[in-house]
Point group: C3
Chain length 212, copies 3
C-alpha cells in the first residue's frame, strides 16, 4: 500500500513516494510519504517505510527491506524550519534516513533516523539502528542495538551487542578473511534482487493507480 | 482492519472494538475484539491489537501505537469465570491491558497483558512489557524486557535491560534534570496526535461500514 | 493473503501454499510459496511465512503462528542443485524449516531456517531461532537468540539469553517440576486452536478463490 503523508507543523509538504519501476512493494507492505526507493529493491510483507515525520527516507539501488522491517525518523522540520541535528548529509543532500546500495535490512530490523547505512552493509535480523552512522561493508549480526554511534567501515558487530558509546564502536572487530559471514551479504542481495524481479513480473508492472 | 472476536471457552461474549471517532487506525493495522481506544490515537501500519484472549485492552487518550506494535493478553476468563491473576484494577475497573493517557508505544513494541502502563510513559522501540505495571512518566529505552515487575513512577530503564526481579525494578534510576530523554515523550505525543488528525482528515472520517 | 512464489536461480519451481482446511490465515497475514500448514493452526495478523528462498517451510498440526511472526529460510537450491547444509531431515523428508506439532511461536518471533523445532515446544515472544535445532518440550523464554546450536529435549532458556555455542546449549537447565512455565504451552495451544476454529467459522470456510 503506497500513500501520501499529511500536513502537520513538522511537515509543510505532502509527498508521494518515489519508487523506481524495477522495485517491488508487496501489497501487505506500507510505504508512506517522502520516501525514495531506488532500483531492484524488494519490500517484503509487513514492512513499513513511513516518511511522515523525519524526511526524506532514501534506499539505494539493489538494497532490500525484509519482512516486518520498520523505517521511520525523528522530525526534520518544525514550523517550516529545518531541524539540522536530525539530518545527515550524504553527497551534498540531506536525509533523515540514507541507506546506500546493496544494503540488506533483514527481517524485523528497525532503522530509526537520523541514520546512515553505507553501501554493502548487512543489518542482521531484529537489529535496531537509531541516531547512528554505519560505514561500508559492515556486518551487524542479529539482535544488536546501535544508538548514537558511528561505526567505521568493514566492522562486524557480534550478535546481541548493545553499542551506545563511541569508544565501544571504535573497538568493534574488523572483518577478517576468516570471518564466517564475510561474504554473506552478496548472496542476500542476489536473492532479494532476483525476488523483486520475479514478483514484479508475476504480478505485472505496478499500475500507476496503485500510487494513490 | 477492524473486526469482532469469536466465542471460545475463554471468551463468552463477542465484542466489536470501541474506537473514538478522533482516532485513526491504518488500513494495514488490525484491531480485534474487546478493545477500547480513546481519543486522538494513531494506530500505525502493521500494529495488531487483539482483544480475543485477555480482555479488555484499553488505550487512553492521546497515546500512540506505532508500526509493528503487538498488544495481546493472557486469558482473563475460563468457562465463564474470571481469572483474577491476569487482571489489573485501575479506577475500579478491571483490565487485561490498561495503557493510560499520552503513552507512547514505539515501533515494534510488545505489550503482553496482564499489563498496566500509566500516563506519560514512553515505551521505547522493540521493548517487551509482560505481566508488569509501569508507573507514570517513565522512560523505557529501546530493547528492554520487563517481566513480572512493578516499575515505580518516573524511572528510566537503560537500553537493552532485562528486568525480571522486583529488586532490580526498585533500583532503576530516577529521571533527573540532566537525563537526555527527559522531555522526549511530550514531542512524540505531539507528533502522533497530529498525524492521527491529519490521516483522519485525509482519508475522510472512518465510515461505519469499516466496523465489520 | 496467500500467494505463489516465483522462479529464480534458487527456486526452480512455483508452489502454492498447502493449507489444511481447518487452519485459519488472517487476511492481514502473508503466506507465500512452498509452505505446508497442518491442521488447526492460527496464523495471526502481521505474520509472514515466506517459502520463496529456503523450501519447504512446514508447520505441524495444532501449532500456532502469532502476530508479527516471520518465518523464512536460507536457500536450499542453487541452479537446480540442492544445498544440503541448509536442509534438515525429519522423518526422512528434507525441510528448510520444520516446526512440529503443538508448537507455539509467540508474538514477534522469528524462525530463520535452517531450523527444526520439535513437538510441544514454546518459543517465547520476540525470540529468534536461526540455524538451530530445538528439541521436544522446551520452553524458550522471551527475547532469546539461538544461532547455530542444538537444544536437547525439555530444556528451558532464560529470558534474554544469547546461545551461540553448543557448550552453552548443552548447559541449559532442564525443566523441573517447580519451573513456573512448565505447563504453559498446553494452555497456549488450547487458546490458539480454539481461536483458529472460531475465526474459521465466523468468516466461513476459506474460499478456493482466496488461493490466488
Amino acid at each position: 500500500m503506497i500513500e501520501k503523508n499529511v500536513l502537520t507543523d513538522f511537515s509543510s509538504s505532502i509527498s508521494q513516494p518515489e519508487i523506481d519501476p524495477s522495485t517491488y512493494v508487496h501489497p501487505l507492505a506500507s510505504v508512506i510519504g517522502r520516501v525514495i526507493l531506488g532500483k531492484n529493491i524488494l519490500v517484503s510483507p509487513m514492512a513499513s517505510i513511513r516518511g511522515d515525520e523525519g524526511q526524506p527516507l532514501f534506499i539505494g539501488d539493489d538494497s532490500n527491506v525484509q519482512d516486518g522491517v520498520v523505517i521511520h525518523a525523528l522530525e526534520t522540520e518544525v514550523n517550516g524550519k529545518s531541524v539540522e541535528k536530525n539530518l545527515y548529509t550524504v553527497n551534498e543532500e540531506k536525509y533523515a534516513v540514507y541507506v546506500g546500495k546493496r544494503v540488506s535490512l533483514a527481517h524485523q530490523v528497525q532503522i530509526h533516523g537520523p541514520v546512515v547505512v553505507h553501501d554493502d552493509t548487512f543489518v542482521g535480523m531484529k537489529s535496531l539502528v537509531f541516531k547512528s552512522l554505519v560505514g561500508n561493508g559492515c556486518v551487524i549480526e542479529p539482535g544488536c542495538i546501535l544508538m548514537g554511534v558511528t561505526i567505521p567501515d568493514r566492522r562486524t558487530i557480534p550478535a546481541g551487542s548493545i553499542v551506545k558509546t563511541q569508544e565501544d564502536a571504535d573497538n568493534l572487530p574488523e572483518i577478517t578473511e576468516d570471518y564466517p559471514m564475510k561474504d554473506m551479504n552478496r548472496g542476500v542481495v542476489h536473492v532479494n534482487t532476483s525476488l523483486a524481479k520475479g514478483y514484479l513480473e508475476a504480478t505485472g508492472a505496478r499500475p500507476a493507480s496503485e500510487h494513490l
